[in-house]
């Protein structure tokens, strides 16, 4: 569907559906936060580190083929970035997509109109306004990807299932191919007993973090973080003949909530249920430095998990690099505390 000479459209944050960009015959490029880049020096130091790092990428010189940027209105830093790029800080057109924080009927209707508006804007930038058949195909493909990732997550959460590796983590990213062959070959957690972790929060959850935690003696079995598939995503392909615009809007807003959503607290409740079911032993929450939604979200998670008696640790990072001694000490201390808990899977050290 994406033409070989398709122009690249950067998407930030993960709330922007790539399906609409694909349907317009353009190439969606979801900025994950894990790119190897330094922060843009033109933006304030106390602005979200994800936004500052993303800003450095949003120039054709840094990203060949970049034709436009679509930003969601998820948070204040993204709106600041939008203003910054519009005021001349960027070299390509920047579009703003307003994404509701709810999933009820009025929100779906509003979002449907927003998606149509986005498609018209992309058309003016060299895209093709999609007919219903084209959009329906893109929506179905997106739903299929979500279904595959849900099945993937169910496998890693199963008792003594495979642990997540850096390579498998890639398969959970939006628009990344699912490494089914890797899943079949993934190491099983049920070898040497190690505490099983769920990583939540920031997009700075990365393969390097998983590797670091592995070296410290923990196994990552689940991820519930920005930019990744989240467990509990009951994705379904829209029924044949359904209005594809409404189907995309409704399906998108029905995804598991993120920190900006009204029902964001349900994520922590879901994690507590996983712990109660024995699928995970503890939760590690990573907060992006200077991220306000995650600041509130972190408090929800801490409160909910402490009430449920689930071991919980939070660390703050401003990049996906996890080898700093400051961060390593925190991660190491948390894994040590898990190993020493009564009934721990592994012997206390």
């Amino acid at each position: 569907m994406v033409e070989p000479s398709a122009r690249r459209i950067a998407l930030l944050c993960a709330q922007v559906p790539g399906e609409i960009v694909e349907a317009c015959g353009l190439e969606p490029w979801a900025i994950s936060g894990r790119e190897e880049t330094a922060a843009d020096a033109a933006l304030p130091q106390n602005l979200c580190s994800l936004v500052r790092r993303a800003a450095a990428l949003l120039r054709p010189a840094a990203t060949p083929g970049l034709a436009a940027v679509v930003l969601s209105d998820s948070c204040h830093p993204l709106l600041r970035l939008h203003d910054h790029l519009q005021a001349g800080g960027g070299a390509v057109p920047v579009l703003l997509l307003r994404v509701p924080r709810r999933s009820d009927a009025p929100a779906v209707a509003f979002f449907r109109e927003e998606l149509e508006r986005l498609a018209r804007s992309l058309e003016s930038l060299g895209g093709r306004y999609p007919d219903d058949q084209t959009l329906a195909a893109a929506v179905a493909a997106g739903a299929h990807r979500r279904q595959a990732r849900s099945a993937f997550l169910a496998a890693t959460l199963a008792n003594d299932g495979p642990e997540l590796t850096a390579e498998l983590l890639r398969g959970l990213e939006a628009h990344a191919p699912l490494p089914e062959a890797l899943l079949a070959a993934a190491p099983l957690v049920g070898g040497p007993a190690r505490p099983r972790l769920l990583l939540a929060g920031s997009c700075f959850v990365s393969g390097e973090l998983i590797r670091v935690l592995g070296e410290l003696g923990a196994a990552v079995v689940a991820v519930d973080a920005c930019g990744y598939a989240r467990h509990g995503d009951a994705a379904a392909e829209p029924p044949a003949g359904a209005d594809p615009w409404s189907a995309l809007a409704e399906g998108w807003l029905a995804r598991p909530p993120c920190p900006r959503s009204e029902d964001a607290g349900s994520r922590a409740t879901a994690a507590a249920a996983l712990a109660a079911a024995g699928a995970i032993d503890a939760v590690l929450y990573l907060r992006t430095a200077c991220c306000t939604p995650q600041g509130y979200d972190l408090a929800r998670w801490r409160r909910r998990l402490q009430t449920a008696g689930v071991p919980f640790c939070a660390v703050e990072a401003d990049s996906p690099a996890w080898s700093q001694p400051r961060l390593l000490t925190r991660l190491e201390a948390f894994v040590e505390s898990l190993a020493r808990r009564p009934g721990a899977r592994c012997a206390a050290g």
């Binding site: 400051r326 000490t329 190491e332 201390a333 040590e336 505390s337 020493r340 050290g349």
Partner: protein, 251 residues
């Protein structure tokens, strides 16, 4: 920064200990402080059944059988000194940490400040230096103050400017020092509130030797703090006890 070594016997009692400046060569400092502690007991490294390295330089202890973070070790050490403690507040030269512990001395939750000098011993050292007072004397002098200077800056650099301004305005040194001690305590108390501290709490680290900080922190937390006789070695004591446990498990 200081290097510490603690030697315990088979029953977990302290046999000998030593503290010294760590300098920039952590490996050399580890070997030297261990030698001093061993010499104090008339022993050599060959007499040691096990060793644990902890702290920032924990991977620079060549004779350590394993490493554990200072969080785990402080918790264990505090529990050994006072099993009733349910919290540890450690203010060292370069960082501060608060740890909530259970009845076994295991870590339930923790918070650290290791990216800003404010709230650490370094802050007090710099400020005391500005006032021409040694860090040992600063706490005693601060307790003599009848009022508390308000230090509004949270940054060490800007707080230093404030102190200079207070000196120039003729403010009493004791009053300034008491304000500085309160400033450090406020930073740490905020961390403690973040993890839900449960009393009784033990204060460890070199700053626990500053009575003004101990008083101010106790006031802010609403509970008096337990201060062991040698607060700066609690982490090393915990490491020694954990090494003992490991050696017993190995037989």
């Amino acid at each position: 920064m200081a290097a510490k070594a603690v030697l315990v016997d088979g029953q977990g009692a302290i046999v000998s200990w030593a503290v010294q400046d760590s300098g920039i060569d952590h490996r050399a400092a580890a070997a030297e402080v261990a030698s001093r502690a061993l010499a104090g007991a008339g022993l050599t490294l060959a007499d040691v059944a096990g060793a644990v390295g902890t702290g920032y330089g924990r991977r620079s202890v060549p004779f350590a059988g394993r490493t554990l973070t200072e969080i785990t070790c402080h918790a264990r050490g505090a529990n050994a000194l006072d099993p009733a403690c349910r919290a540890v507040i450690d203010i060292g030269g370069q960082d501060s940490k608060v740890i909530r512990i259970d009845e076994r001395g295991d870590v339930e939750d923790f918070a650290m400040n290791d990216r800003c000098a404010a709230g650490t011993g370094r802050f007090l050292e710099v400020m005391a230096g500005r006032l021409g007072i040694g860090p040992q004397e600063a706490g005693r002098l601060a307790l003599q103050a009848e009022s508390v200077a308000r230090i509004s800056s949270v940054c060490t650099v800007f707080a230093e400017s404030e102190v200079v301004g207070l000196i120039a305005a003729g403010e009493d040194r004791a009053t300034i020092l008491r304000g500085l001690c309160r400033s450090v305590s406020a930073r740490v108390a905020a961390m403690a509130a973040g993890i839900g501290l449960r009393p009784p709490a033990m204060m460890t680290g070199g700053v626990a030797l500053n009575p003004a900080v101990v008083v101010a922190l106790g006031e802010l937390l609403g509970t008096p703090l337990v201060v062991p006789q040698h607060p700066q070695i609690v982490g090393a004591l915990g490491a020694a006890l954990l090494a003992r446990e490991e050696a017993k498990r190995r037989g």
